[in-house]
Symmetry: C3
């Protein structure tokens, strides 16, 4: 399976036309920037985490995005409740295990959320994806010579265990499903210096999953759009400050021509 400029732009146009409601239960650091990214792309973001309303909000959303970046017990309860509704309604759930591996609390919570919600997509960096898998991946194959290889092995194991798409982002993004792996090689070297662009990648997965039921392609399209917008933004950036601002502009400006010229698989 492949993706290409035409398939990417088709989904972008669908988001712009349908403006899917993406319900985010996410961290305090990135709420403003992910809401702006979703709006700039053409989706409709909503942030809601209160127990008395998460079911109702997830009930009208096109996708649910759960991000544990600044988790706490009260928020975790809301994440499970919203996920239950989303699962019952069969709308896509996207999970970002921010900081899995850094503390047991994060690793444990991320695993429990994944087990309970059967997400459509998990998006994380290599170390987060490996942390999610540690209990199941005691023995690393000798072929796993690099951190990146190990992360792909972990992603495969997770994809198999939970029947979901696992998106490992880095210099090359790997979108791993039970059937295959799609690679996306867009992006800009300065992007890791802007806080929360990983969280934005996860939120965009939600927007694409809301309008494309092939979650592997949806995630790959999201990663391509992230990387292409990042490259556009980086061209005139003097640092991470202007990169962050330009990135939002680029999501808004993104045309078929941009994608055709810059997409790199």
């Amino acid at each position: 399976m492949t993706i290409n400029a035409a398939s990417i732009f088709k989904d972008v146009e669908k988001i712009r036309k349908n403006a899917p409601l993406v319900h985010n239960i996410t961290n305090y650091v990135v709420m403003n920037t992910t809401a702006n990214a979703l709006l700039a792309l053409g989706a409709s973001p909503v942030m809601a985490h209160a127990l008395p309303e998460v079911e109702e909000m997830a009930g009208i959303a096109g996708a649910l995005v759960i991000n544990i970046g600044t988790l706490s017990d009260a928020w975790i309860e809301a994440m499970f409740k919203a996920a239950k509704t989303a699962k019952a309604r069969q709308i896509p759930i996207v999970i970002d295990p921010v900081g899995a591996g850094a503390t047991q609390y994060r690793t444990r919570t991320a695993r429990q959320l994944i087990q309970a919600s059967a997400p459509s997509i998990i998006r994380g960096n290599g170390s987060e994806i490996m942390a999610l898998c540690q209990q199941d991946q005691k023995t690393k194959g000798v072929d796993s010579t690099s951190a990146s290889d190990q992360a792909i092995d972990s992603a495969k194991a997770l994809a198999l265990e939970f029947g979901c798409v696992v998106c490992v982002t880095g210099e090359t993004d790997y979108i791993v499903s039970q059937k295959d792996i799609i690679q996306v090689k867009n992006g800009h070297a300065m992007m890791p210096r802007v806080t929360g662009l990983g969280c934005t990648a996860t939120a965009l997965c939600g927007a694409f999953a809301a309008i494309n039921p092939d979650y592997s392609r949806a995630a790959a399209h999201a990663m391509a759009v992230m990387g292409i917008a990042g490259e556009m933004a980086g061209e005139n950036a003097k640092g991470p400050g202007t990169l962050q601002v330009n990135f939002i502009d680029s999501l808004y400006q993104l045309s078929k021509t941009h994608i055709e010229e810059l997409f790199n698989a």
Copy 2:
């Protein structure tokens, strides 16, 4: 009653001179951007939501702004407590019923807050204002042929019921009081693509209400300043990213000449 460039700029100067303290109990998404908007305009923002301090903070503020964008039970309790102090001190209370109509929790909370606090100004978009009114406006007059007309009918009903100013924002802003309606027609088409500019409009209502006891004019001046700064910002914006940054700059730069040239009622 009308407003004009002179009356708008007089209030702007008063804010710049007095730097009124605006106490915000608002949502996580917009805290940074509304604080920056208030500072750029010349007001002094403070964010405080803890039960042990909201009375003391509301006790030294020039206005209290309550925004339910990411509400939860603990915050609602603080909102009521702060509102009680503000009401007792007769300082203006401005309420933003973010997402009223989207969930029952929001609609109910917004209505209860309005009933308990007798706000000076309610600011929302058309659908939020209509949602607040639904229980009282069972029958829509046949003249309400558009969503916008319906929103004005709802605003009138709310203004009458609670003796407050209701500010319905959209392409045209309607500032509805028991006595009359002021229209403001400034703004830029890209503004809805920046998250939280509605919340910023509400926060600016707080700043203007802190220095102008004619709350109808205060709200209208705030909407004119929002729209004019938005137009200034939009002129060189390449997308919602630069629009958001330029908007803050424009609030800071705003001169009498800008207002005279751009104000559109």
Copy 3:
């Protein structure tokens, strides 16, 4: 004791090389902007406030930054817990008593945190530092003719009482220790119009303290970098919006030449 361009840049290079993990328990308003400032400078920020994980997170950090800007009881509990771990591990703790003096809750909490954690650095503006000291400084000497002088007296008293560095920021920054006072005179007049730059100054103290055990110099280096980046940012800023964006770019661009040309003690 003095600092100079060489000593400042040496620490900047060390941060860029070591990328120290700075654990922030901070306020909602500034989470995004302080994370971006730390990343732009070269440090690794993490925000975590949940009781079940703060000990583990503080256990792997190079510095702990506690900021009470939007405090509440649950967060205060986490602040004390994290501080206990940091203290036991002898990693530097930096405290920002945001709004001390505005409410008793803030003043009391800030004092209790300082007493319990024996911080390496306290950073605040003049009125916050004076508020922290009020109980101990009943009688002001007649030499304290200006607010700034009073703040320095309070800073001296705090430095003596808690054996820590007290950094009073304003037009001139005073870094007060038991032994001496370092002055830094960099900065831009528009900086107070950007929300949370004081909080950013505190976060940068954390980054510098993580790589320089001479906390007096660490704090002075942080203030010099803040001020120099602010001056660089201000040069092309059209208002506080572009200043905020340029400031992040400037932290990223900051070279030895910039420091040599702009440092002003």
